[in-house]
């Protein structure tokens, strides 16, 4: 079994986006800042996140209709309608839905998702957001259904691959490794050498090598006390491996 390591940076960026860090919005992301429409969307998003953070800090509740995300998502959605198919529209669409997801306004979020066709460039971001929504709600049913539909219906390789990657992750979390492997292998084939493909590779490696029930990959080394240690040498013991770092 060979594999390539997935770049941690990608996962972190997606996660940061999910956590609402203003990284993308403040222009430090990977996109060039030249497109004025994109800059405008990012600035709007930045303002939205600031207000929503303040709302939360002031004890404002999630999952209520007068959540500030409701209004901000409308503002972003208007960008989508201004210049359909553009990079700015794709960004605004995905982030509008993400605001609703983070506000735990699932019904509204899903209604918006239904308006996004399988070839809409918003899916390059939105696929991961649906996975994280499932993760937060501990219910992947909607994500799995929708991502399957997009993966099957899209003619864009990058979208297909992003949808299949998110689908595979959701299926793995549902405990269906066989389905996850199928989706992740398809993600790899849809867009070889893409970020999604590399990420899929990493998860396939985990499923094949680090799943519960498998023999743990052996290693050996010298302990800080000078003792030779390998997993082989610990057979017969129950081993708790603790990866740690000083804080």
């Amino acid at each position: 079994m060979h594999h390539r390591m997935i770049p941690r940076a990608f996962f972190s960026l997606v996660l940061l986006g999910f956590l609402g860090a203003a990284r993308f919005a403040s222009g430090q992301g990977t996109q060039p800042a030249a497109n004025p429409a994109v800059v405008e969307v990012r600035e709007t998003l930045d303002a939205a996140r600031k207000e929503i953070d303040a709302y939360r800090a002031g004890g404002g509740k999630a999952a209520v209709p007068d959540h500030p995300a409701t209004r901000w998502h409308e503002t972003l959605w208007a960008y989508r309608e201004r210049d359909p198919g553009s990079e700015a529209a794709a960004l605004a669409t995905a982030e509008a839905i993400q605001l609703l997801i983070r506000a735990e306004l699932s019904d509204q979020a899903h209604a918006r998702v239904e308006a996004v066709s399988a070839d809409d460039l918003a899916w390059e971001r939105l696929a991961a957001y649906l996975y994280y929504e499932g993760s937060a709600r501990k219910d992947f049913a909607y994500a799995v259904a929708k991502l399957s539909e997009v993966a099957a219906g899209s003619s864009n390789a990058a979208i297909k691959s992003a949808a299949l990657l998110a689908l595979g992750r959701a299926q793995r979390r549902q405990g269906d490794n066989a389905a996850a492997v199928k989706s992740l292998e398809s993600a790899r084939h849809s867009a070889p050498e893409s970020v999604s493909a590399r990420e899929a590779d990493g998860i396939l490696y985990e499923i094949a090598n680090l799943s519960v029930g498998l023999k743990a990959p052996n290693f050996s080394g010298k302990s800080r006390a000078g003792r030779a240690i390998s997993l082989e040498s610990l057979r017969g013991s129950v081993v708790v491996m603790v990866f740690w770092a000083s804080t």
Binding site: M5, R8, F11, G202, Y205, E206, N209, L210, S211, V212, G213, L214, K215, A216, P217, N218, F219, G221, K222, S223, R224, A225, R227, I229, L231, E232, L234, R235, G236, S237, V238, V239, V240, M241, V242, F243, W244, A245, S246, T247
Partner: protein, 99 residues
């Protein structure tokens, strides 16, 4: 490593029955890891290569954060990947009780 007391308790309770705690320190500076081990009284074996998340074992086990935990049975099979130190005891006990 605020979880150290939990691992200490597990070590004290189950070492006699054949439980081994194996630390893999991911500090970039071996001396820093050594200091932590000493200060916190982590009395179980430690592997530290000074390569952080880029070290061979961390890469093999796809470690992306700490603590990352694996519980292996007596045959060396992965029986659990607990999400936190608090969840270790249950799978550790089950593995110890397995013939």
């Amino acid at each position: 490593m605020e979880e150290v007391p939990l691992f200490k308790a597990l070590h004290a309770k189950y070492a006699d029955r054949g439980a081994v705690i194996l630390g893999i320190g991911l500090d970039q500076w071996v001396a820093r890891a050594d200091r932590t081990v000493k200060e916190k009284g982590m009395s179980w074996p430690q592997l530290v290569d000074g390569k952080g998340f880029g070290g061979d074992i961390a890469k093999t086990y796809h470690v992306e954060g700490t603590p990352t935990l694996f519980v292996l049975d007596r045959a060396g099979r992965i029986v659990a990947r607990p999400g936190s130190a608090k969840q270790v005891e249950e799978s550790l006990l089950a593995a110890l009780d397995k013939p």
